[in-house]
Symmetry: D2
Subunit: 341 residues, 4 copies
């Protein structure tokens, strides 16, 4: 069986494992106050080209969204996102669990557009009853989005400008950021993201780590007592080093970007193969998640040898399916998959 | 510098790391639906001598306490524990964050006694206003306790009987369970604990893993939709395998117990050295946390070479301090420490 | 100035006030354990034609929705409603404040239809990732709806049958129930509602009381320890008698229904006047909220003498507006308003 | 049966009822934006001798505590109070329901003393692990306390000075404030309380209203968007006028103070009668709650004719009991009670 189901079906990039071994017996304080977290934070700052970053390491994506959003919002506020946003759909109500509403705007492609946000905000404040409603308190986007799409520089700049005008923190969920940054069509760099957002996270779990997401607050924007709130949500690791060591490895010698480039080369090759073999795209995705439409026959045939993600059943009886590449995908596997198409 | 500050200052037991490497490229489904979690659960069941266990792997101790307690309590209920209980003191209000009160009973030694619990329960239900109060909904104990003490078999049996009589789930926090089981004075086995509690966790983070706690529900007592609630609290790992692989290693060839024995032998040797050198014990602890009283001069001298945990300043100007052994402590380090005393 | 802005712009129906006076010095226990609450509950049961009701009196509508929903849902569940539902829009996130998501389905007229609910439920359980999503745990409808519309008996029966099939409690928000029951087009009786729902509330605040809503659980369906959870949400009155006395008066000699009939006669007369004078209806409402479209000129002219509710600005520059009648509206006021149209 | 069980066993002071009647048909906007709330707020400001007050009317005591505390605390903070504090004991976990811990300090008489608070705060910040603990974020006291005791001016001044030094808002629960202000031994005036606290509430429910508590924020200290948060907690009345009218009446011609004086005269007379007849005081209370010790025989005899509050069973078999006077207690009732002693 070949795995194209997701980017979290194997362990860690070998260099990450190697770093865990090499540092294993070095004694360090707990709870993130270790030399590895410090070093990783420095390397992330260098990769962003800035020296004004607060960096905090958390374990997983839903946890990170929950911690960031619930620590940035005031209690009468909700978070605005596209209706396909992970926080709105696939996190089992983790945001609501902390008392906040997720305010969704329709989006055909997973991206939240500045003009839609502006209309929503204008209508909200024009509503005479808005004091009886949930106030928009911050904006959540993902990049790449849940549908694999990428923001252009113009799009993110417009969102950012609007958010600053309205004093709404802009949070970018980068669970698959490594792939998004290295997509051939990518316009946004890590530096752009640090410039244009108020907080974002650099996904580790899906980009070569065993676990871990690096939350970055540019302009030293981390809320006061953030660590206490992390603890309060059960999200603090005693051995914070586990996250520091891994991110230190990912940001040494450009490993994080190399992983992104590797997976993207394979993803684009796969996309081209789908197009060459007349598989219709379900979504025209520029990143490491590829969405195609399969007939029932194609689906049944492929399922014998390939693990991929069923996405949704279409009204005409065909299926949308998702194929994902990662640091662990090999050229050989990809060629075998293409041969089967 | 020698580290006796805690049992989470190094990485993982070498055999745990080795297992992570060996399994690294095996593709598996995410979210705990992998072969390693399944295998680890089986080995834990075997170690408990039972076949009616539900096992779920979480990442850290506070998270585990928060998830277990908030999924077992009804919303008008609180959790009863000793006033030194970790959930009452050192988890930044993680239980209250989920809407529940921690109901504390005084305890001189960290243990909750059946007779104190009975008095509390009787008084609660005798109170005519108890419908305006927080109902006791479950009982939390730790073993070893936060003060290093251990329940006797008689004590846990009495608590268990009372909890069953009153239909209160009994939850045992085993963050340091490996050390508690292997203490020379230990009366309780893993099988006893599975028999006498309704849910407990086997600590990994402090007993040789990079992270991870195995929550065990005997008598198939896991609440319905537990995984959804784990997700809702941001506590589900995409790569659940990280926890499965580690616990599989810890429960292969008795590694978990070997780690416990190793650290306990050193802890008892250290305790004896303290006694031999006339350091007064602050608490007479039978487990891997040793608490002694240091003069200001002793403290200053030791701090030059040894990292240990300041515990509290005593009214007479001396200090209580905690020294902890673990899987990573070596005989050589211990001998050097003893030589310094 | 004539008030048609809402049905809560005056105090209480004179008979309600009279009852408060007459009972004022009778000493009774607090917290709802008084003879007036007991009597009111009996009269409500009689009005429903049943003897299996649990009745509990709360103070206001948002509070009631919050208490009922948060005590009936399990913590991994959300409440399903039409996207115009009061709980989804105008309660400042009160449901999310208790940790639960509001799951909205599109509805053009404020009513949730059985077929839409069925499609949603089928899709939810067919989704392979539904364990990572918020489970539908109950269904909320309002009658009359926020748009003044009414469920037919067939519609409510279909919803009820579906909810029972899927074991989802069906909750009917009756903030304006008195008007809905007495609308000329009404098909549903209080008995039907008790038969077809699992919990509903009989609105007092908008139907002649100073404050107060009577929550009714048919088939003795009140959750265990409901009063403790009411207290926990800060919703219990020390002088519960305030609610009991008022509902006792409202359900003595059919006052509640008389109030409904009075307001409905005026509302229908107003609607006819709008139609006669060629004011287009914004919504064709059969109940005491009437929605019409005003030109800017009409709006400006009416605003000089009449307080009504601006509803929304239409794309063509006209305005939708809401006019509401109540127990306090007089035939004279209505005639004056009609003369101004 | 004579009622001395509590101060909420009857309806409202006749002048309050009269005001409700007189204003009944005056149309006003909802949600507190009515002329009565505005007028009541002005009269309260005058009674405090200040012009910098924000006043907000809520319905009941537990609700008020819950709203005030949960809107003033940051999410990593808890509220400090005496271990007998109403919020700690008798509110069914209403504070924890909003995610916050109640941090209790021992107090023999219901009063929180500045020196105890100072010791607690110093120890908290001296604790090296305090970032893993719940931060003290505000201070709650009640006046009179749950045990009937009163703060002296020196005591409240010391607490206030400490709270300001440590930037902790000081909140005074005045559920029975009217009685506390008019106790013969009272040192504190309404003006003192406005000067020395950051927020307090003037209890209406127990001092002559049907329901209602007036929350006062001196120095315009009401949190931004307070009304939205009130709505979010289900605590906003549609007919806010109900509270405004009542407080307007209570603060017209000194009615609130007259009620206090009346009940206090009776309470002191009752206390003297207990002393004269050799009933030992359980607590030496200067306010309208009187606590005495009854033998089983005395208790049984009195219970035939008098409703009073059983307080607790003493180890020697006797009983502590509470007798309460209010605006509704008459001299005749009191004399009959005294005759029975």
């Amino acid at each position: 069986m070949m795995y194209f189901k997701s980017d979290y079906t194997e362990g860690a990039h070998p260099k990450v494992l190697e770093a865990l071994e090499k540092t294993n017996l070095i004694s360090q304080s707990g709870y993130g106050a270790d030399c590895f977290c410090a070093s990783a934070a420095e390397k992330i700052a260098a990769a962003c080209g800035r020296d004004d970053l607060d960096v905090y390491f958390l374990t997983g994506g839903t946890q990170t969204n929950q911690v960031v959003i619930s620590t940035l919002l005031q209690r009468f506020e909700g978070v605005v996102c596209a209706d396909s946003g992970h926080i709105a759909v696939h996190e089992a109500g983790a945001i609501e669990f902390t008392g906040h509403k997720v305010l969704t705007l329709p989006s055909p492609d997973g991206k939240l557009r500045a003009e839609d946000l502006r209309s929503y905000l204008d209508a909200f404040y024009a509503n005479e009853s808005h004091e009886h409603m949930v106030f928009p308190g911050m904006v959540y986007i993902s990049h790449p989005t849940e549908l694999g799409t990428l923001y252009t520089k113009a799009e993110l700049s417009a969102l950012s400008a609007l958010c600053r005008e309205r004093k709404l923190p802009l949070f970018l969920d980068g669970a698959r950021l490594g792939y998004g940054l290295m997509a051939p069509a990518a316009e946004l760099t890590l530096g752009d993201i640090a410039e244009l957002t108020d907080v974002f996270y650099i996904g580790g779990t899906k980009v070569g780590a065993l676990c871990g997401e690096a939350v970055v607050f540019p302009r030293h924007g981390m809320p006061a007592h953030f660590a206490t709130m992390v603890k309060q949500q059960g999200a603090m690791l005693a051995k914070g080093r586990l996250l520091g060591v891994q991110f230190d490895a990912l940001f040494t010698d450009g490993l994080y970007f190399a992983i992104g480039r590797h997976a993207m080369a394979l993803a684009i090759k796969l996309k081209q193969a789908f197009l060459d073999k007349d598989y219709p795209l379900f979504i025209d995705s520029p990143s490491n998640q590829q969405f195609v439409i399969l007939t029932a026959e194609q689906r049944a045939r492929l399922e014998k040898d390939v693990a991929f993600e069923p996405w949704e059943k279409l009204p005409d009886g065909r299926y949308a399916a998702r194929f994902v590449t990662s640091w662990a995908t090999t050229e050989e596997q990809l060629d075998k998959l293409i041969a089967l198409l």
